[in-house]
Amino acid sequence: MKLNKNFDRALWAFHVNTGSCNGCDIEIVAALTPRYDVERFGIKLVGSPRHADVLIMAGPVTRAMAPRIKRIYNQTPDPKVVLVVGNCGNTTGVYYESYNILGPIDHFLKQIDPDVKIVHIPGCPPRPEAIIEGAAKAWLVLEELRGEA
């Protein structure tokens, strides 16, 4: 049976906290719950990166998390998109001086996959509407990767 296009659009996301303060994490959950309700499009959080189409990452990368995000990225099946939520994950934000923060997330992902597809969502924390917009962009990227665009 050929899966239709709607099936592709029901993104399954795995949420990785790479050292975030929890601000972005509660906004990601807020986007899933009834006010914003992305579950109506079939977008949901899953418990394993092996089930995911999208990795949602939030937070600056701490020393202990750096090897782990690479492992999680490698465990996610292709085609995949990374949604980097929040200023810290995009630029390290307020923590830029720290001895234990190694850098923004894309820095690490590009080391293992130079062609990594990242959707950046700035904000501290971004509003749920912004996260939904990011998810819509992730669809477009995934369609492109599958050669449907």
Partner: protein
């Protein structure tokens, strides 16, 4: 310990705490025998960064220690640095606005917790319903401060934004909406037979253990210890209020210290916060909201001043302490130490988790109000066979949901105590 005991590491990522945690459980079958907590993965070196910035810049860092209780970190830092710099005449109106913001945050945090607790038990309907309820208070926080999380309301000598009279009806509307829903919220949790089965006598922290481990906040109040910074050492607008620590006995439930008692405390505190906000709105004194309008002058004052002080606040999770030292002539904060409330409470985990089942670990760990959401993976090593398997957060969640279903099937039958 029997032969078939095995070690069960959980973590390491545990995002709600300032210091996220890795657990190691020694298990005997389904029962937890020993617990070891190893924090440090989410360490961001915030205190180190803070000592390279001036007190006004540190305010923004302080509220990013935790995204859920951001206000109370900022509150404690503001109080500590004000005391250290000798800024004493904070306008009354600013004190009241600070109190209102802290209580709005307590409501959002407790309602959030209730949703997470429901999710850990497999009641996703309740999770969605409580988070829908939470959006009301988020709207008001956004209405006052302009942002849903990280409000940037406080600074040394006052607050940045006023709650003007035309804003008050909107806040009161939220209060009455919550009062209407409050009984529904209490019933949904406290009257539900399955919620009772999963929480009564689960994760018990006795009064003695609560005192020994110095647990704070709802964790200790559930055990019957009347400890609350807002009552013991009132700050801000709390001094004008006649507050009592919320204990489960006020709702007719004994102070047993189990997960149910902690839920009762949090639900009572939502009601208490509504009363505090209403009192503060009705009695808000007129006047300025800042000690000094010019921010540069505040900064210069802090640069010249020297001293050290402690700021204490009652966070949604319990007592929180910030220590600040300022040296004269040094623009930056010379020393900064934060002791967040969960730091005390994770020690109580040890008492609560020993003797619990694996299926109960999720709800017991959640009962002190950390976020268990990022339990990355768990390795199960069978001590006898040396067989290794990997358990994910999903597996844990599934075990928990399965236990709820089992209880649902057995509902009505007398409790055997063996579940």
């Amino acid at each position: 310990m029997s032969k078939c005991s095995y070690t069960l590491p959980i973590g390491p990522v545990h995002p709600a705490l300032k210091e996220p945690t890795m657990f190691k459980f020694v298990m005997d079958g389904e029962i937890v025998k020993e617990v070891d907590v190893q924090p440090g993965v989410n360490h961001r070196g915030i205190e180190f960064i803070g000592m390279r910035r001036n007190p006004l810049q540190v305010l923004h860092l302080a509220e990013r220690i935790c995204g859920i209780c951001s206000i109370v970190h900022q509150y404690a830092f503001t109080m500590a640095s004000e005391k250290a710099a000798g800024i004493n005449d904070i306008p009354e109106r600013a004190q009241y606005i600070r109190t209102i913001m802290a209580e709005l945050e307590r409501i959002h945090s407790h309602v959030l917790w209730a949703g997470v607790a429901a999710h850990e038990l497999g009641f996703d309907t309740l999770l969605h319903w409580t988070w829908k309820l939470r959006e009301d208070v988020q709207d008001v926080l956004e209405y006052i401060s302009g942002n849903r999380v990280n409000y940037a309301m406080y600074y040394q000598g006052g607050v940045r934004r006023d709650i003007s009279p035309e804003k008050i009806p909107r806040i009161k509307e939220m209060i009455s909406a919550y009062r209407r829903e409050f009984q529904k919220l209490a019933d949904a949790f406290l009257e539900d037979p399955l919620f009772k089965h999963r929480t009564v006598n689960v994760g018990v922290l006795t009064k003695k253990d609560a005192l020994e481990t110095s647990a704070v906040g709802p964790t200790t109040r559930g055990s019957g210890v009347p400890k609350d910074v807002r009552v013991d050492q009132p700050y801000g607008g709390y001094a004008d209020l006649d507050l009592k620590p919320c204990l489960p006995e006020q709702m007719g439930y004994p102070n047993t210290g189990d997960t149910y008692a902690k839920t009762v405390v949090r639900i009572l505190e939502v009601g208490q916060s509504l009363d505090i906000i209403e009192f503060c709105l009705d009695n808000m004194p007129p006047g300025p909201i800042r000690w000094e309008m010019n921010v540069n002058k505040v900064l210069m004052h802090m640069k010249k001043a020297g001293g050290e002080a402690i700021g204490m606040t009652e966070a949604p999770r319990g007592e929180m302490i910030h220590y600040v030292r300022l040296d004269p002539g040094d623009e930056n904060v010379s020393a900064w130490k934060v002791r967040a409330s969960t730091y005390n409470n994770i020690i109580a985990w040890q008492k609560m988790l020993v003797g619990a089942q694996i299926a109960d670990v999720a709800i017991v760990a959640a009962s002190i109000d950390p976020c268990i959401g990022c339990m990355d993976r768990v390795t199960v090593v069978d001590g006898e066979t040396g067989k290794e398997g990997v358990m994910t957060k999903e597996d844990f969640y599934r075990l928990s949901v399965r236990k709820t279903r089992r209880l649902r099937r057995m509902k009505g039958k007398p409790s055997g105590g063996g579940w």
